[in-house]
Amino acid sequence: MNLSFFDQFTSPSLLGIPLILLAMLFPALLIPMPDNRWITNRFSTLQSWFFHLITKQLMMPLNKNGHKWALILTSLMAFLLMINLLGLLPYTFTPTTQLSMNMALAFPLWLATLLMGLRNQPSISLGHLLPEGTPTPLIPALILIETTSLLIRPLALGVRLTANLTAGHLLIQLISTATTTLLPIIPSVSLLTALILLLLTILEVAVAMIQAYVFVLLLSLYLQENI
């Protein structure tokens, strides 16, 4: 019954406490608070280096006003990165496979950038709806198209993250099922499938990191237009 492959995406719970709670709180343990020492332990040093790298990358194209968003964007990036990577460990649950969570992250942040733009610089924000140099007869159509593309951004952000992670996990499950089923029948083909599984796992690690980065990068781009 193929339906059982989708069972991995139901939110499991024990004694009424959903596993998603543990999965969302656990990354907090992996990001230690820096204590007031000059030379911290290796783990903290590595993490501070990494977060400085991310923050610098994200904040470079933004102006001074945009730097107020540094904390939320960096913490969002750290959160998504940790959650995606932890989801690749066996038996763990990935909260970002749930569309509800990704929409809850994408929609308010996108709306915040939009409202800030409309409030502080309304004509410039509305001006983004019409690219420069369009021929005059095309203007109404183009405005409609650009408005649609603007309004579809939060949906795209949420669904992109959900679909990428869900598809990856599903592929891993399918190919590993194929490997174990083929093992008693044709071991050589099973070995080939195991090789594919290895490559797929490496891809999934990359996808986990890239998707987190893309999510935050796009939000910073939307911020750039509107701030």
């Binding site: 059982s4 139901t10 499991p12 230690p32 332990n41 290796r42 783990f43 460990l89 763990t92």
Partner: protein
């Protein structure tokens, strides 16, 4: 030292009920206990001068085990002998 101030690892097996009686089981007490346990673990295995992957790996392995236990009921229903 006195029983209430010793850590769990230093309490002998026979003294365990007495030690449990001195514990604070209110929400603040439990939270304080969890925080103490975490900082003891962190200071012993991660916050060291020449740490390696061991401290974090133990933590991740514990997380995997906990997740397994959490969805045991769900996982145990999957039968591996079902053919498509």
């Amino acid at each position: 030292g006195p029983l209430s101030e010793r850590r769990l690892m230093d309490v002998r097996l026979g003294e365990l009920p007495a030690w449990l009686a001195t514990c604070d089981f209110s929400p603040q007490g439990l939270l304080g206990g969890v925080q103490k346990a975490w900082s003891n673990y962190y200071d012993k295995y991660i916050n060291v001068k020449r740490g390696g992957p061991a401290g974090i790996s133990m933590l991740l392995a514990g997380y995997c085990l906990l997740s397994y236990g959490w969805n045991y009921q769900h996982i145990s229903k999957i039968s591996f002998l079902v053919s498509v």
